[in-house]
């Protein structure tokens, strides 16, 4: 919870990790990739304020105490969602698997949930694993990382025929939230791996599922916005937007937020810190205190109100995940997300 000027913000962090990228966990022969991956993440941490930077050794492997302090005690986070990322070709026990994340969830069941994952290239075995994971972790969401390497393949898309079976399975298992994360590789390698049009395809074919595009499709924000404005079930995950731009590139941050508010809208944007890339504390405080400067170049962006920030900080995600939000954090104005849904129910009755 974060309180500012008498307003209380319920904070849902939609993108948390508890990873182990220490050298002991690197797969023999794949060290350069395991090392390169975590060093790349570490460089991103460099885009936050200097006092929040960690030495690489701590960044490779941090403790449960670090997590609890940075996220809950100092980070204002009321509820967190783990996005499991496996990368088992590079990390022996995986980078941050559902099992590793789930160990923390067991200790803090009222504050954390874990999302699973699937990879359509795993076929039947993958479908069975998804069923097992759904049961074991009570999955409400999955994270899919399309650039993951697997047995010589360097990626996949949500348009692949095999992926449709997995999305059907998600629907069947009550896994409503599909977090899509694009990465640098995809087959064939000559295609733009960051293209988000496969999300468009899947979102149209599975209207009951929600598709949260992580990092707002960066580096293809424009493709994401053109798609998101047409698809009612596509959402913007703000990890990297806040962590990577708010401090390092404030003018770009204003513009990206303005464009997202214009094309996607405040009801479909979700806060996420991407911890441990960046600590939530400065992001939560910075975002709540941020205002769009009164300048010509920002003049045709939608207004940023307290309600806008409350929705983005947590109310939107709470709705997608069925997280209970105490009354003191709810919007005071009419037209809250819950009220909207009620109105639709009334209309359709």
């Amino acid at each position: 919870m974060y309180e500012k000027d008498g307003e209380k913000y319920f904070v849902v962090d939609g993108h948390l990790h508890f990873w182990d990228a220490s050298p002991e966990n690197w797969v023999t022969g794949q060290e350069q990739y395991a090392k390169g991956w975590i060093e790349c993440f570490h460089a991103y941490q460099g885009l936050g304020p200097a006092e929040t930077h960690w030495p690489i050794e701590k960044f490779q492997k941090y403790t449960e105490d670090d997590f609890v302090r940075d996220v809950f005690e100092e980070g204002h986070v009321d509820f967190g969602i783990f996005q499991s990322t496996y990368l088992t070709e590079w990390y022996k026990d995986g980078f941050n698997t559902a099992a590793k994340n789930a160990a923390l969830v067991e200790k803090y069941p009222d504050k954390l949930i874990v999302n699973g994952r699937f990879d359509p290239r795993e076929g039947e075995a993958g479908l069975r694993q998804l069923e097992e994971d759904a049961k074991r972790y009570n999955l409400k969401g999955v994270k899919v990382y399309t650039a993951e390497w697997f047995h010589g393949s360097r990626g996949w898309t949500l348009r692949d025929p095999e992926a449709q079976f997995f999305l059907e399975k998600c629907q069947e298992l009550g896994i409503k939230n599909i977090h899509a994360h694009k990465g640098p590789t995809i087959w064939p390698l000559d295609k733009d791996a960051f293209d988000v049009r496969d999300v468009d395809y899947a979102a149209t074919n599975f209207p009951e599922l929600n598709f949260i595009v992580e990092h707002v499709g960066l580096p293809r924000i424009e493709d994401f916005c053109f798609m998101g404005t047409q698809e009612p079930n596509v959402y913007a995950g703000l990890a990297v937007v806040i962590g990577g731009l708010m401090h390092a590139r404030p003018r770009f941050f204003n513009k990206v937020m303005g464009e997202l508010l214009f094309w996607i809208g405040e009801d479909k944007m979700l806060f996420a810190s991407d911890y441990a890339i960046w600590e939530p504390k400065w992001q939560v405080e910075g975002f709540v205190n941020w205002t769009m400067p009164d300048r010509e170049e920002y003049s045709d962006y939608p207004a940023v109100t307290t309600a806008t920030k409350k929705k983005i900080m947590g109310l939107n995600a709470a709705k997608l995940y069925g997280i209970e939000v105490p009354a003191e954090y709810q919007l005071k104005e009419a037209g809250t997300p819950a009220a909207k849904e009620d109105a639709q129910l009334v209309e359709s009755a």
Binding site: Q32, Y44, G46, K191, A193, R251, V256
Partner: protein, 242 residues
């Protein structure tokens, strides 16, 4: 912008040549982005160029395009003997460098993983994005000077101001095979059709988003280079927060 290390005489003309190589995703010269880590010319005229991208995970196809383009422009220079262009600190650097050394195309670097040896389709897609983005900047500048939508839409190539954005627009149009003659319309869709006055505002709203995306990506690349390697590069688009 000079690279991190420059050794030997004769490097200036090589760097000039490399300034014509653009990052296809960002539409900015690789020299301005700080991607040229080293450039050395031996007394015999052997050229050794080392490229370093902001992260080891930059997409292999774009990394290949920049390295291959760099090799091509340097080889075209007179009195140049052997040319070596190497990509440093990249997760597919081994494959890409081996292919470059053999003079192979993209399919040579990643056999069986691509059907497009020269990445023409990918390149064309990003040239179209770059053109949209550049035109939006030019268009906004003209509107800010007081021109109406009708006046902007009615402009011809010959009437464009002699500024970097306008010159780059024409280069991009040429790459797409679009008309660049003096009487051709100044603002065009990627098909070559002129942007209609009635559509200008709507077109600009979309074009501005494309441009912002390119600029933000460039900004992140610069921030990462600074975080990883302490390389400070001016960012012409970010400006100063007032």
């Amino acid at each position: 912008m000079t690279p991190a290390t420059v050794t030997g005489p004769g490097t200036a003309r090589v760097l000039d040549a490399l300034a014509a190589v653009h990052d296809p995703e960002l539409d900015e010269p690789i020299t301005a982005l700080g991607f040229v880590r080293d450039c050395a010319v031996s007394p015999e005229g052997d050229v050794d160029v080392v490229l370093r991208l902001p992260t080891p995970q930059c997409a292999p196809n774009f990394a290949f395009l920049m390295a291959a383009d760099a090799r091509r422009v340097v080889r075209r220079l007179p009195e140049v003997r052997k040319v070596s262009v190497r990509l440093e600190d990249h997760y597919t650097g081994q494959e890409i460098n081996a292919a470059l050394a053999r003079g192979d195309g993209f399919a040579g670097a990643f056999p069986g993983e691509t059907a497009d040896d020269d990445l023409e389709a990918l390149r064309a897609l990003f040239v179209r994005k770059a053109l949209v983005g550049r035109q939006s900047r030019l268009c906004e500048a003209l509107l800010a000077q007081g021109l109406t939508a009708e006046e902007v839409a009615g402009l011809r190539v010959a009437e464009l101001p002699d500024v970097r954005d306008a010159r780059r627009c024409l280069e991009l149009r040429a790459l797409l095979g679009l008309a660049c003659t003096e009487d051709a319309p100044a603002f065009v869709l990627p098909t070559g059709e002129p942007v209609a006055a009635a559509e200008l505002k709507r077109w600009l709203r979309m074009a501005r988003l494309v441009r912002m995306s390119l600029e933000v990506n460039g900004g992140i690349c610069r921030s990462l280079l600074k975080a990883r390697h302490g390389v400070e590069i001016d960012d012409p688009e970010e400006g100063v927060e007032i």
